[in-house]
Every structure is written in structure tokens, then in C-alpha cells.
């Protein structure tokens, strides 16, 4: 017997591993059934189209076959990194992203927690429904309402002047320093209800027994929140946080496009707007692809980084 064990060669080890794999495969065959068809789906719909990335390295002219495209290597990447506007735009994008992330992440959680404290079911449900109505109103409409609110004749200025904080009405939309704050608050107004849904659902997943047990132990409202509710939704919170970090460069452009004006251009241009202007509008397909690749790279680094960090701190990872 011992002789057989000592005499295992590399080949034998391989065969052994393969056999174990097959055993595992068979044991978990249902799990495989529930996942691998979708992997194939993924490869078809998400990985095959990635050939489009080659466009970033070519002077892409649509319609000409692949082999005849003119190769320009890293020209667009160089252009991107040399452009001073690019760094300005990154600054803006990060600033707005981080602000809206911090606010747009913590507030919905707080809202969900507070809503949870409302015992009257009817009242709670109506508040919930009303709170996510702005999510369905398009940015076009929200921006136009926001502009009227912030105008010289609008209610916010009325409050500022009547309460004596300012002597005369303020051009709230013209001040670059206020742009990011305005956008963040308006975004919060629009999305707080909808974003809180998922946290509220997570709260519903916490077994009632825990709360009952805590009541028996004499815990008050806040103690329960701290020791039961928050830990209970921690997986959801962590997940949302990690994925949110990954999307930090994806602020989009709709809200900035609608709320900006020529006086605040330096702070309002985001990466997506930059791509639109310098890329697509100028007929340069490849440029848009190059910036897209850059964004993907940064996002992936952030997501995997945050994931590892969360593994170390919270002992919970997505991957």
C-alpha cells in the first residue's frame, strides 16, 4: 500500500485530480445545470461583442472589412491623456460621483430604517409609493422643475431673502461652486425613494424572532437598529457599495447636460459628455471606444479592490 502512495507521479496526480473533478461535477451536476447555460449566454451576448475594442486602435471606418482597417495603435489614448480637458473632466466626474454616492447611498438606508419604524402599515405604504414617484419622472422634466425652483423668482430664493440670509436674490444656477451640490441634491430628491426599496426588502428578510428576543432582553428602538437591523442588511449594503464604487466613472450625462449652462461649463462636463463631444460629434468612433476602455479598466480595478477590502474588513466578498 505505502509503495503505491509513494510512487505517485505527476501523471497520476493529474488523473487523480481529473477524477475528483468528475466526481464533483457529477455531485454538483444540478448546480452546473443552473449556471453553465447562462455562461454560454454570457459569452455570446457580452464577450463576443468585445471585438469592438479593436476599434480603439484603428482609424475605424465602418463597413470596411477588419483586415483593411488602418492601425493607429495608441494614438487616441495618447490624445486622451495629453488633453488638459480630460483631467478637468475626470475631476468633475469623480467629484459628482463621490458626492452623489455618499449621499445617494446613506440616505436611502436611513430612509429605509426610518420607514421600518413606522408601524401604521397604510401610512408606511403610501409614503413609500409617493417617495419613488420622482424616479419615473424623466430628467428632462425634473430639470425643468428644478430650474424653476432655483430661479430668481422661485421659492428657494424667496426663503433666502425673507429669512434675511441674503439681501438680494441669488443666481443659484450661475455659481460654479454650487453646481455639484445642486446636482447631488436634485439627484437625491429623484432617487431616494426608489433606492430605498432594495434596503427595505432586505430589512424584511430579517426574521421577526430576533426582534422579539431583543424586546424580551429590554432593548430599545435604537439598540435594535444598531444590533439587529443594520447587521442584518449588511450583505446587501456591502454589495451595493462595492458595485457603486465600480460605477464611479459612469455618472452619465443626462442630468449634467440639462442642468448646466455656459457659466458653469468648467465644472459640469463629465467623462460621458467629453466622449460625446470630442468623440462621436467629431466623427471619431475610435475615440469613444478608447475612453470606454479606460473607464472599464478603472471600474474593474475599483471593484476588485473594494471587494478585497471588504473581504478583509467585513469578511464578506462578492467574489
Amino acid at each position: 500500500m505505502q509503495k503505491a502512495v509513494l510512487a505517485t507521479s505527476r501523471f497520476d496526480k493529474c488523473v487523480l485530480n481529473l477524477r475528483n473533478l468528475c466526481k464533483l461535477f457529477h455531485k454538483q451536476r444540478y448546480l452546473v445545470l443552473m449556471s453553465f447555460p447562462f455562461v454560454i449566454w454570457l459569452i455570446i451576448f457580452s464577450y463576443i461583442p468585445l471585438w469592438g475594442w479593436t476599434m480603439a486602435f484603428q482609424e475605424y471606418k465602418p463597413g470596411i472589412p477588419f483586415t483593411e482597417q488602418k492601425w493607429i495603435g495608441l494614438k487616441y489614448f495618447m490624445m486622451m491623456f495629453k488633453d488638459p480637458d480630460f483631467y478637468n473632466v475626470i475631476r468633475n466626474t469623480l467629484a459628482m460621483s463621490i458626492m452623489s454616492f455618499v449621499v445617494g447611498f446613506t440616505m436611502p438606508i436611513i430612509l429605509a430604517l426610518l420607514l421600518n419604524e413606522i408601524l401604521n402599515g397604510k401610512f408606511r405604504r403610501s409614503i413609500q409609493t409617493i417617495s419613488y414617484l420622482p424616479h419615473f419622472v424623466s430628467w428632462v422634466v425634473v430639470a425643468s422643475i428644478a430650474k424653476e425652483m432655483l430661479s430668481l423668482d422661485g421659492p428657494i430664493n424667496q426663503v433666502l431673502v425673507h429669512s434675511g440670509i441674503f439681501k438680494e436674490t441669488q443666481l443659484l444656477l450661475a455659481k460654479p461652486e454650487l453646481f455639484w451640490i445642486n446636482l447631488t441634491l436634485i439627484g437625491l430628491w429623484k432617487e431616494i425613494g426608489w433606492s430605498s426599496i432594495i434596503f427595505f426588502a432586505a430589512i424584511s428578510g430579517i426574521p421577526q424572532e430576533y426582534y422579539e428576543a431583543a424586546t424580551m432582553d429590554g432593548a430599545g428602538r435604537f439598540k435594535k437598529m444598531l444590533h439587529i437591523t443594520l447587521p442584518g442588511i449588511m450583505p446587501t449594503v456591502t454589495v451595493m457599495m462595492i458595485m457603486g464604487l465600480g460605477g464611479i466613472l459612469n455618472t452619465g450625462f443626462e442630468s449634467q447636460l440639462l442642468m448646466r449652462n455656459d457659466l458653469v461649463r468648467d465644472v459640469s462636463d463629465t467623462l460621458d459628455l467629453y466622449v460625446l463631444n470630442a468623440g462621436l460629434n467629431s466623427g471619431r468612433f475610435a475615440f469613444g471606444t478608447a475612453v470606454g476602455m479606460f473607464k472599464s479598466l478603472v471600474s474593474l480595478i475599483l471593484v476588485f479592490g473594494a471587494n478585497n477590502l471588504s473581504g478583509k474588513i467585513m469578511k464578506y466578498k462578492i467574489i
Binding site: F36, F38, P49, S138, G205
Partner: protein, 306 residues
């Protein structure tokens, strides 16, 4: 004696300072978030010429249903409504079951391919080849003018998978362990034990997915153009809008508009745009209360154990 004491504590629990502020805060929130919607409703019911004067708050100045009439009398609307409903129902249900299945496999820490599958999916959340390759892929798969183009490409949303997975992570693992000991296989574990416990998160994901299907029109535009049988509601509504001046992510050459010879590009009146918002949102509002019932405050482990 003891019974009375417990009753007293219950009473006191009902009202305290925190509750007062909470209720007040919620009412304020409701007013702030309700206002834009009321504003939209008011403008949609207001006469188009009068709307130009601006200044409408939450009641119409010159009441009229003309904007709604204009949209609802469109001949393509009824058919596209049916298509949208069909798409939403089929799309959401297929997506939900597939997403949940996949999420379950992600959550099983003992699954040998777990890391591989998770990573390969998560990467796709942040990478994309762009519109041109996707268009050509759909074409080569023969999905043009095909109802399946609404179902297949959007089958799995990785975000949804992750959310469901983290919810499953929050469930006590003992439930599955004890079932395995009793001889259940993976399929049974999923369908009969885990899935029923996931109703809150499933209803949320169902809501998100359904709204996504309901609101999408770009795929109709690219892949099913001109096909009366496959046109969706949102697409038909977008055509009614045809508004160029409000949002053009591509800042058009303004001189084209200035051309005196050019057909006067119709910028849809504001009131019509608002009416459209209401028409689109209404079905979702009607469906949500049904979904909300699943957000029952907590579930009792006791019931499950039995």
C-alpha cells in the same frame, strides 16, 4: 396583574418623541416628492398655449383633456400596449427565474466553479464592446423582427444576480444543511427551500426588471423598426413626442433648424410631453401595491422550520 403590566408597556410604546418627528419627516418627504408629479399632472391637463406662459404649480389654469386625447387616439397605441404587456410579463418571468437560479449557484460556497462563474459575470458589468458590435451580433443571430430580441439579450442582469445572491447569503445556512441531511438534492434545495424564502427580494427584482422592460424603446427602434406586430408602447409614445429641442445628447447644428426652407420641426408642446409621462407611469403605479404586499415585515423562521 402581569397582563395589565404588559398592556401598559404596549401603549407607551406606541407614541414617543422619535415617532412624532419620524411621522412629520415622512410627511415632509411625501410633499417634496409628490410635488413634481402633481406639477406634471397639472401641466398635462392645461391648455397648450396657456402652458407657454409658465407658472403652473399643482393645478391646471385652463383645464383641458386635449393632450391626452391627442396621445390616446393614436391608432398604433392599443396594439403596442398589448405587445408591451406581453414583453414585460414574459421577459420579467423568464429573467427572474434564470437570475434566481444563477444567484443560487453564486451563493453556494461549496460550488466548485463558483469563483470562476462569479468573476466572469461581474466583469461584464463594467466592460462593453459598444453599440455597433451588439447590433451586428443581433443581426447574425437572426433576431431582427423577432419577439425574442426582447427576451434573450436582456435575460440576465448581473446586478440583479448579485443582489439576490447577497440576500440568500443573509438567510441562515442551517435551513439548507438540515434539508441536505434529509436527503434533498440541489434542485429541491433551490426550488422548494430557498426560493420561497426569497419573496421580498424577488418581488423587488421583478419590479426593477418589469419597469426596465416597460420603459425600453431603443431595441424596438433598432431591431423591430416598422413592424406593427412588434412595436412597443414606449416606442410609439416616443414617436409622438419627436421632440428635438429638449434633449439632444448630440448637440445638433442649430443652423439646420434655422433653415427657412425646412419643414417646421414640430417641438411637441410641453403639455403633451407631460401627458405622456403620466400615461407611462400610471400602469407601474397600479402594479406596485401588489408587489408591496411581499414586503411583509419579516418572515417567521418558525413557520419555515415546520
Amino acid at each position: 396583574m402581569i397582563n395589565l403590566k404588559i398592556k401598559k408597556i404596549d401603549l407607551f410604546k406606541k407614541i414617543d418623541l422619535f415617532d412624532v418627528f419620524n411621522y412629520l419627516g415622512m410627511i415632509t418627504l411625501a410633499i417634496i416628492t409628490l410635488y413634481p408629479f402633481l406639477n406634471v399632472l397639472a401641466i398635462s391637463l392645461n391648455d397648450t398655449t396657456d402652458t407657454i406662459r409658465g407658472g403652473i404649480t399643482f393645478y391646471p389654469r385652463v383645464l383641458t383633456f386635449a393632450s391626452y386625447k391627442e396621445i390616446l387616439t393614436n391608432k398604433n397605441l392599443i396594439n403596442s400596449f398589448e405587445v408591451s404587456v406581453l414583453r414585460t410579463v414574459i421577459g420579467t418571468s423568464t429573467s427572474l427565474i434564470c437570475t434566481a437560479m444563477l444567484a443560487y449557484t453564486f451563493s453556494r460556497k461549496d460550488y466548485f466553479a463558483r469563483k470562476f462563474v462569479t468573476i466572469i459575470f461581474v466583469i461584464t458589468m463594467y466592460v462593453s464592446g459598444g453599440m455597433i458590435p451588439s447590433y451586428m451580433l443581433i443581426r447574425s443571430l437572426g433576431l431582427f423582427h423577432n419577439f425574442n430580441v426582447y427576451i434573450l439579450p436582456g435575460l440576465i442582469g448581473v446586478f440583479n444576480v448579485i443582489v439576490i445572491r447577497s440576500y440568500i447569503d443573509g438567510l441562515p445556512y442551517e435551513i439548507q444543511e438540515s434539508a441536505t441531511i434529509d436527503g434533498a438534492n440541489d434542485l429541491t434545495l433551490f426550488f422548494r427551500i430557498v426560493l420561497p424564502l426569497c419573496t421580498p427580494v424577488l418581488s423587488v427584482i421583478a419590479l426593477f426588471t418589469a419597469v426596465g422592460h416597460w420603459n425600453s424603446w431603443f431595441d424596438t427602434y433598432l431591431y423591430c423598426n416598422g413592424d406593427k406586430m412588434l412595436s412597443t408602447l414606449q416606442f410609439e409614445l416616443q414617436r409622438i413626442l419627436q421632440s428635438t429641442a429638449t434633449l439632444s445628447g448630440n448637440e445638433q447644428n442649430p443652423y439646420k433648424l434655422a433653415d427657412p426652407n425646412m419643414q417646421h420641426i414640430e417641438v411637441s408642446p410641453k403639455s403633451v410631453q407631460m401627458a405622456m409621462t403620466i400615461i407611462v407611469t400610471l400602469p407601474i403605479l397600479l402594479v406596485y401595491p401588489a408587489v408591496q404586499n411581499y414586503f411583509v415585515k419579516g418572515i417567521t423562521l418558525g413557520a419555515v422550520k415546520n
